[in-house]
Amino acid sequence: MRLKVVLLGEGRVGKTSILFRYIRNEFQEKQQSTLQASYMDKRIKVGSVDAQLSVWDTAGQERFHALGPIYYRDADGALLVYDITDSESFTKVRKWVKELRKIVGNDINIVIAGNKIDLERNRQVSEAEVLEYAKSVGASHFYTSAKQNLGLEECFNELATKMVAQNKAKFAGGVAGLGVPKGGKSKLVVVDDTGGGKKSGGGSCC
């Protein structure tokens, strides 16, 4: 099963670093800003399902949203990244959620990642606020650190589980709300709370 994941978020929150750390386990202290979209594949196992994650990295600045749909139009999941030391970056997450819901609809699975947790002492984004927001939009929330390789596996696993569940439901001609798979990661309770009706056409990659 091929699943497309997009990394979205303001500039310099660490999208590229997350990508490199997660896929290649590499980290560069001095990363140049990203303009070119790039994507990398990773095979993972979600329960009994073999899934190939295609993770897309994009430019962060809002103006590049003019190109945005190219990246996320047929995405199964989005990882919205913010920087816990930068409150501005969290407001961008809200914008992204709105935009995704508007353009892609409710089908896209969203996970929010608070990156740079290694800089906890400089935290500017309040945890309560984030959790409340994540709950209100039906997204899971994780803390990550690309630098110290914290939380990334969990984060992507959660997203993958959600996406697999949704895809299965889709293939089974499922209706909204039935998307709890049997073979999900045992510790994760997957709640498909997107609520809206499913697209009948296949939106995901082949």
């Binding site: 800003s33 303009l35 430019a59 962060g60 103006r63 590049f64 749909p69 190219i70 990659c205």
Partner: protein, 642 residues
Amino acid sequence: MTDSREDPWGWPISEFVGEGEQGENNGSPSREVAGSGEPKVAGVLRSLSPISLARFGGTDTVSASAWEAFVSARKSSENQIGDAGSEVWYKFLASSCDSAALSLVMRKGLPQCERRKVWLEWGVDERTSDESWKALMGDVDKVMGTGGEEKKEGMVDKDTLHTIEVDLLRTMPDHPYFSSSGGHGFAALKKILLAVALKAPEVGYLQGMNFLGAFMLLTFKFGRDEENDADLEKDVFDCLKSVTTTLLKGYYAPGLTQLLGDTEMLRQLVSKTDPELHLHLSEMGFDLTLVCPQWFVCNFVTSAKMDVVARIWDLLMFAGKGGRGESGGVMAWVGLAMLGAVREKLMETTSMCRVITEIRKFTMEGVKDVDSDLWKRAGLSVHSFFDAGRIREEVVKMGNGGKKRGWDGEGGGESDEPIRQRPSMLSRANSFGSSFATPMTKKRRTATENFARRNGISRDQPEGRFLFEPAEESKVGLVDKAESFFKFAAELMTPTPSKPKRKFGTSLSSKIRSGSILFGENNSFNNEEAKPSTKKFSKSVSFGAPPSPKEMVAMPPPPPSSESTFLSPNSKGFEMTPVKTKSRPSTGKKKKKQRTAGTPHPSQGIRQTHFFTSPEMSRGGGRAGFMSPEDKLIMSPLAEMR
């Protein structure tokens, strides 16, 4: 002292030192201290030995006296940086260059120490005065002091400031000059970016402009004493502002309209010059929109070595001279050359991931060498597009302090006209294309005759005329622009019958067209020991086995019901409006082109070709360049192919 070649952003020594001339440069005033701290060489005009000359065009095409003059000009300017050196250099260009010598210079790039002056002259219409620069710096200081305002007229808003600050930390982070802890360039770049954001609020700041500014800083400070270079920041500001607001208008402003348009242009170029590659990329699900933003927004700064980038910028600036607005064309052509250079690898790819990786790898590692295949390709396309004669006129005019000057020899009459009122390069390219308007059975004429005849056509036969008037240049529809590019490419593809050797000068155009001006008729390039890549290149440098014009004419028109969309220039200029194929409105009075699926009129020849409505192109409905919001979701044929 470390070898500068290890510094990815430094200027490689080898490029600036003439063979056996290193010794002479000792102690010359033009030592450059790059950020890494090592002195650079003084040999600023790149060395062109007769050997490399032969390689690039054949000594026989350059008169002995021109060569002498070139060599002496180079020698003098090596030791006289600044105005005196420029003087000599211009003098050379103005007095003794014939087209071949000049095209040689263009192919080798401008001398590094002259770039600042020449770029500012070519690319910037209005220089900022010292007073207004001072005032502007005051405003910039205010912005930095207050930390940005809420959105307000005449100020930089918080968001922009934040983005700039964040990006500065990620601009060539390994380069000492841009080090966040006290790097000279770091502070300068911040001021410059803020100044542009203040002065050009319609552009503000777009990620990528940081790289442009950084590149210009490095280029402009080359060979100069930084301490006493008070104008450095101002000059970079002028240049950056001009690039973002004029030369590449619409690349940086919200919507990125022209950026998408030129991406579309490149797509058309690829699909027409190399359908095989185009098809393969489409099958992989690859879309140029994935790489073009990086290439175009940064003007290749992040995608090639500095000296290659500088060469591209020479052309960019030249193309933008006097508000001609052809710079986007340079981007597309260079993009085509890049794809061409990595073509073989791309054809082997089996997934989109590999395509992106290959391109990335190539742009990060491959584009180092100005003499590489890439440059030959880009040189062929860009350079011949510009028309060597025109370059000559421009440089001569410039070297003469802007005064007009007669040109002894061919073309002298032309230069009486003010430059800006003459047909643009683009319409020249168009005029190349319009020679296809006559039936192919006609005997091919020489390039010179062709030009006269084409001009005749443009006066007398409305349907044979160019797609737009020079005055209307700025409103040219992108599709037309792309089309004219393609026509020119088609011209390039058409093999010209070999002719007896002519006296230099008259056969230039035909040489350009046949590619021989770039590679020489008997030069080392084609005959070089057949490295596979070279061989491949020499084959596809004229864009693959050229489809005969007849084949092109025979390209099937789309079904009438085709829903393909077009970018139509509307009254506001470049707005993207999807329109149905059949009801494409046109602003130009002379756009008589038929785009419906009728039978081709025999006399129109290749102009009947439905460049933009072939079934392959129209399948996807919308394309990045001209999507309606609804279309965005089902963009590009790729979605359907999957």
